[in-house]
Each structure stands twice: as structure tokens, then as C-alpha cells.
């Protein structure tokens, strides 16, 4: 392990490759009623007024989120995957820009993406097959985030950070797409490192028609 910066507590396993993902998390064991209940609770909590981050919080939390986006924009999906906990979630609701616990309830609604760790791995392996017509040529993204605030949470050991984003997506030969909205990152420590436990991407136009959403936000 080579911590990127011990002070930031962001670490990467340099040797972690697609092969490791192929064998990682081949079962989906942790999504159940209690897990969905926690996600509905998240949707309630995200509505609250946030507090702008202190300098120390920026160094620790904002830095991790910016690094996450940087890895996605570099298409470093294997390293991106390592930023997440073992019981993680990457979630893009299909409803509204402020999905509530009813309209946004993933237990009862389909989503644009609801990736537990296994499906997150599937998505990376799928992107890496190199034979997906929807990713030939591949998408390149550029994340721009601002407005980082901390949201109070009742959950012990969790930190909730909300931010506003604009993502530009470019595939050679196609028009550049602009996606915007807000993100919620739930961070917690695992194995002595700060990781992303749950990421919610609330698109402004999630309920409208979308063109080729096969890239990661």
C-alpha cells in the first residue's frame, strides 16, 4: 500500500487490477430491507441545510471526493473502485432532482444505476470488455464540483458531504453532453482509511430522456 498522502488518508493499492475485480464480490449479500431503510433515511437527511466545510474538513473530505472524480475522469476505474467500502453503493435515481423517500425509494422503483459492490464490479468489467458498441469510442468525462457542505447525520461514524456538480461527457464523433445536479457522498472509515460508503448522484433531469448513460458519474 502506498498512501497518496498520509495526511489526507487516501490510499491506493497500486497492484489492484481488473483481475482482482473479476474475483471480488461475486455475491450480493448486504442489500436487504434494513439497507433500503437506511437509503430512505439518507434521502431525508440530504434535504437539510448544509454547513460549509472547515479547512480541516476540506483537506479530508473534499479532497477524497475530488480525487474520486479525478480517477473517473482518467478512466482509472480499478483505482476508483478501491475508494469504496466493502458494502458500498453507487446510486443514480431516475426520479427528480430532489428525490424523496417515496419517489426515490429504490426498493420500489427502478433507478438509472443501483450498483452494490458486485454490480459496480460488473460495470467496470463491462466497460473494460472493449466490445460495448455504446462505449466505442469510449466516453471521457470532466467533473467540476463546488458548493461542498457537510450535512448532519444520525449515523455513527458516518460523514455526509453534499456538493453541486457539472459533468461534461465526450465521445469522439458525438456531441458533448452536459449533466448537472448534486451529489451526496457518505464517507466512513474502513481498515483505517476513509472510504466512500454510498454515493448518490441526483441528476437535475433524471426523469427526462437520457442519451447513452453508460459512463460513470
Amino acid at each position: 500500500m502506498t498512501p497518496l498522502d498520509p495526511g489526507m488518508n487516501i490510499a491506493l493499492d497500486d497492484g489492484f487490477t481488473l483481475k482482482d475485480i473479476l474475483r471480488d464480490s461475486l455475491e450480493s449479500t448486504y442489500v436487504d430491507d434494513a439497507y433500503y431503510a437506511r437509503l430512505r433515511g439518507d434521502l431525508d437527511e440530504w434535504q437539510a441545510i448544509g454547513t460549509p466545510l472547515t479547512e480541516a474538513e476540506r483537506q479530508r473530505y473534499e479532497a477524497l471526493i475530488l480525487h474520486e472524480h479525478w480517477l473517473l475522469d482518467r478512466r482509472a476505474f480499478e483505482r476508483w473502485y478501491q475508494l469504496y467500502t466493502r458494502q458500498c453503493l453507487y446510486w443514480v435515481p431516475a426520479a427528480g432532482d430532489m428525490p424523496d423517500a417515496v419517489r426515490g425509494d429504490p426498493q420500489r422503483q427502478v433507478t438509472i444505476a443501483f450498483d452494490d459492490r458486485r454490480r459496480m464490479g460488473d460495470r467496470i468489467v463491462w466497460l473494460r470488455t472493449g466490445v460495448a458498441s455504446s462505449q466505442l469510442p469510449p466516453s471521457y468525462t470532466s467533473h467540476l464540483s463546488a458548493g461542498f457542505v457537510r450535512i448532519a447525520t444520525a449515523a455513527d461514524g458516518e460523514v455526509k458531504i453534499r456538493s453541486q456538480f457539472i459533468v461534461h461527457e465526450m465521445r469522439a464523433g458525438h456531441v458533448v453532453q452536459t449533466l448537472t445536479g448534486w451529489m451526496g457522498h457518505v464517507l466512513r472509515e474502513e481498515d483505517g482509511r476513509l472510504k466512500i460508503d454510498r454515493k448518490l448522484v441526483a441528476l437535475l433531469d433524471a426523469a427526462r430522456s437520457q442519451h447513452n448513460m453508460t459512463f460513470l458519474l
Binding site: 455475491e27 450480493s28 442489500v31 431516475a94 427502478v110 460488473d122 460495448a132 466505442l136 442519451h211
Partner: protein, 432 residues
């Protein structure tokens, strides 16, 4: 009617090939939006989207804005969303509940059955003014097991006659858990395709493409899970497999994969929540659990109701043409609700219904867009529809349907025959 001046429609739609202009010509597009959509029974909505009196959804019949509503007694109506005063749309919301649709322009108001019930300063029209003659235009409406269709063609036979064997196939699709009702309003995947709408319908009964077009999904599954998961039956020479295609009549088409699926649950795609919910369902249902788990997985049926409704797996896809080269494809998620079916089944169904929209359909849409790009070349005129046309492999199969091997272009030929019939029909379409 207008199409490329050099060729009449009979020359454009041949048994063994069709002309590129059918996918690229704006005049043909404008014509088919009026003659095909609305010229036959055309799918608009599902009854579960209209749960109560005065519920409505806003839809399009071709390009015509329409409202599908229930009146105060719960009866269904398809109202043309066009004020009889000066033409403005009277309903501007996608869905909701409304006793009245009040036109924002001069506030004429119409009840949920379309009758004109309010005109401001009505005396200005003089004494002979007849509100009863100025209700919203209406289409004929009928529903079969919750699927609501409309037509502007007074000569169309009743819906069940028109559906023919498709009605029985809908029964088979719905009755996998006897007594269950189907619920939409479980979220939607709304996809944009920069291609003609018929490229989507063409593909819906194309049993030739999956092993090639869906290589990304098949390879991901194999690399990660080995054999035994879903869609493995699409690999190799599928004409030697157990899948079939059929001409259901009136442009409806069908791929039947059911014979390839031995154990539905075991052959399902991976889905989040699988382990815990399988345990919960087994604990609740005991011996009946296997059947409940099977209805999590898609039906193994692709039933395509001409011209715009694709019942595939557990989802309902609706083709919504926008322009000659732009189509919206809306995938409605479905849940099954029955007193003896635990809700855990639907928690899994939601996750499984995200699988193909994530890892399958985007590759199809990308190929349709590339078809549209290729079809722009004027010097290359023809699209082939002749696979298995002369191989002698077709036979009269179940329900009296002409049936063929799964890569047969039989469904394409069935589609184009119905399309041409409607495009050359002399029946005048009219609002009621």
C-alpha cells in the same frame, strides 16, 4: 401522399428487401405518424397508471398530443389535447388527477370525459352557441387486461379481434403468477436514440443479433460468473436452438425463448439483494418459493404489438418517435402485486429490470444510430429482409402462427406488410 418521387411504395417495400428512404425520408415520416399511429389500435398507457376516477396521463398518438383519462365513473377516454377554441393544448402536465382540464389561454374548461363545461363570458357567442358540439376531439379507446389502446380509424375491428393470438400471449405473460396484477409507476428508463423508430421495432424480434450485438454483456458475465447465467442461449448457431420467431398477425411479432429456460431463477442475471431476498422469500413461501423466484426473472418472451409496444422480459417498452432520425424509447418497470406474493419479489424485480438497460440496450441503441448513419448514403439503397425466406424452415406453429427459426426475418416481413397496408389505406381517420 408523398414519398421519394422516383419510387412508389410498392417498389420501396418488397418481400425480400426495403428501401433506405423508409428510414430517412421526412415526408414518409410525417405520413406514417398520421396513418400508422392512430390508423390502427395503438398502445398509449396502462390502466395501473390511472388508479382512480379523474386520473390522467399525457401521451402522444404518433405526434398528436393526447390525454388518456378516467372520467368520474372510471371509464377510459382518449382526448385529443387541443382546445376547440383556438387550438392550445389544454393539459400541460405529464400525469395527475383532474376533474377539469382548463385551457390556460382563455379558460375554456373540459371535464375528464372531454365535454366542454365552461366558457368565460359565454353570452359573447350569441344565443345559438352549442357547447355540446365543442367537446375535445376523441379517439376510440379500448383496453385488454390493462393495456390501453386508441385508434382514429372507425373501421378497425374490436381490440381483441385485432390482437388475435397476441391476446393469448399477453395472458401467458401476465399469468405467470395467477391472480397477480401488474403495476407500472415503478420508475422508468427513458432513452434517446438518434435513429428512426422502425430500427427499434425491427430489432425487437431480431433473434440473429444478440450473440454479436450483446458481446459486451455476454463476455462480462462469462468472465465474472462462468456459464449458467442469463442469455447463454444466444451464443452459437441459434437456429439449431429452441428459440423461435412468429408472425402474430396485423404486424405483431414474437420471439419465444421459453424453451431455452430450464430454471428461471438459476438462469437469471445477477441482481443486488439476491442473497438476502432469496432467503426471505424461501422462508416465507416454502415450497412455493421457486415459482415466486421465477417471476423475478423475465418471461422469456418478446411480444411486440404493432407499432409501438414491446413487451420484453418483465418490462414494457414504448417506442415514441420524435423525428425521422430521433426516437425516445421508454422502459416502464413493472411490479406484480398479489396477496400471496411477498414484496421481496418486487424488490428483486426492480434490480433485475436495471440490468438490461445498463448492460444490453445501450449497445442496441448505439447500433441503431450507426444504422441511421449508414442509411444516409443515397447510392446504397436496400435493407435486407430475406433471411430464411427461401429455406423452407417456416411452419405453422402454436396458435396457428407462422413460425420460423429464431434468426428468420419473418417478423420484419410481417411488420412491413402491415405498415404498407396502413400507408396505402384509403380509410379517412377522424376524431369522434
Amino acid at each position: 401522399m408523398s414519398h421519394p418521387p422516383e419510387l412508389p411504395l410498392d417498389a420501396l417495400v418488397q418481400e425480400h428487401r426495403v428501401h433506405r428512404s423508409l428510414y430517412t425520408d421526412e415526408a414518409i415520416f410525417a405520413d406514417e405518424m398520421n396513418r400508422v399511429f392512430g390508423g390502427t389500435w395503438t398502445f398509449l398507457a396502462h390502466e395501473s397508471e390511472l388508479p382512480a376516477p379523474h386520473s390522467f396521463v399525457r401521451r402522444k398518438l404518433g405526434l398528436r398530443p393526447v390525454i388518456v383519462s378516467r372520467d368520474r365513473d372510471g371509464a377510459l377516454h382518449v382526448l385529443l389535447n387541443r382546445c376547440t377554441h383556438r387550438g392550445a393544448t389544454v393539459c400541460r402536465q405529464d400525469e395527475g388527477t383532474a376533474r377539469r382540464f382548463t385551457c390556460p389561454y382563455h379558460n375554456w374548461s373540459f371535464d375528464s370525459a372531454g365535454a366542454l363545461v365552461g366558457v368565460p363570458i359565454e353570452e359573447g357567442y350569441g344565443p345559438g352557441f352549442d357547447k355540446a358540439a365543442l367537446g375535445l376531439g376523441k379517439a376510440r379507446v379500448a383496453s385488454y387486461r390493462g393495456f390501453i389502446f386508441a385508434t382514429l380509424n372507425a373501421e378497425m375491428p374490436d381490440l381483441v379481434t385485432h390482437l388475435g393470438p397476441a391476446a393469448q400471449l399477453i395472458d401467458e405473460w401476465l399469468d405467470r403468477w395467477p391472480g397477480a396484477t401488474l403495476k407500472l409507476q415503478r420508475g422508468t428508463h427513458r432513452m434517446i436514440c438518434l435513429g428512426n423508430w422502425k430500427l427499434v421495432y425491427d430489432n425487437s424480434a431480431d433473434g440473429y443479433h444478440p450473440g454479436f450485438s450483446h458481446m459486451s454483456l455476454l463476455r462480462m458475465r462469462k468472465d465474472r460468473y462462468g456459464a449458467g447465467v442469463d442469455m447463454q442461449w444466444t451464443i452459437g448457431n441459434v437456429d439449431h436452438g429452441l428459440q423461435t420467431v412468429a408472425d402474430v398477425g396485423n404486424g405483431h411479432t414474437f420471439i419465444d425463448q421459453r424453451a431455452e429456460i430450464k430454471r428461471y431463477w438459476e438462469q437469471a442475471a445477477p441482481m443486488p439483494g439476491e442473497t438476502r431476498y432469496e432467503q426471505a422469500i424461501r422462508a416465507k413461501l416454502g415450497a412455493k418459493a421457486d415459482t415466486a423466484l421465477d417471476v423475478v426473472m423475465g418471461s422469456g418472451m418478446n411480444l411486440n404489438i404493432f407499432p409501438n409496444l414491446l413487451i420484453i422480459g418483465n418490462q414494457i417498452q414504448v417506442i415514441e418517435p420524435q423525428r425521422v432520425d430521433l426516437t425516445h424509447l421508454t422502459w416502464y418497470a413493472t411490479a406484480l402485486e398479489a396477496p400471496d406474493l411477498p414484496d421481496e419479489v418486487n424488490a428483486l424485480r426492480m434490480r433485475l429490470q436495471e440490468d438490461f438497460p445498463s448492460f444490453g440496450e445501450p449497445d442496441d441503441l448505439a447500433n441503431f444510430e450507426e444504422c441511421q448513419a449508414g442509411l444516409s448514403i443515397p447510392e446504397m439503397e436496400w435493407v435486407l429482409t430475406n433471411r430464411h425466406l427461401g429455406t423452407g424452415k417456416e411452419y405453422i406453429g402454436p396458435k396457428g402462427m407462422l413460425t420460423g427459426p429464431v434468426t428468420d426475418d419473418l417478423p420484419l416481413r410481417a411488420f412491413w406488410r402491415e405498415w404498407k397496408r396502413l400507408m396505402t389505406s384509403t380509410t379517412r381517420l377522424a376524431a369522434a
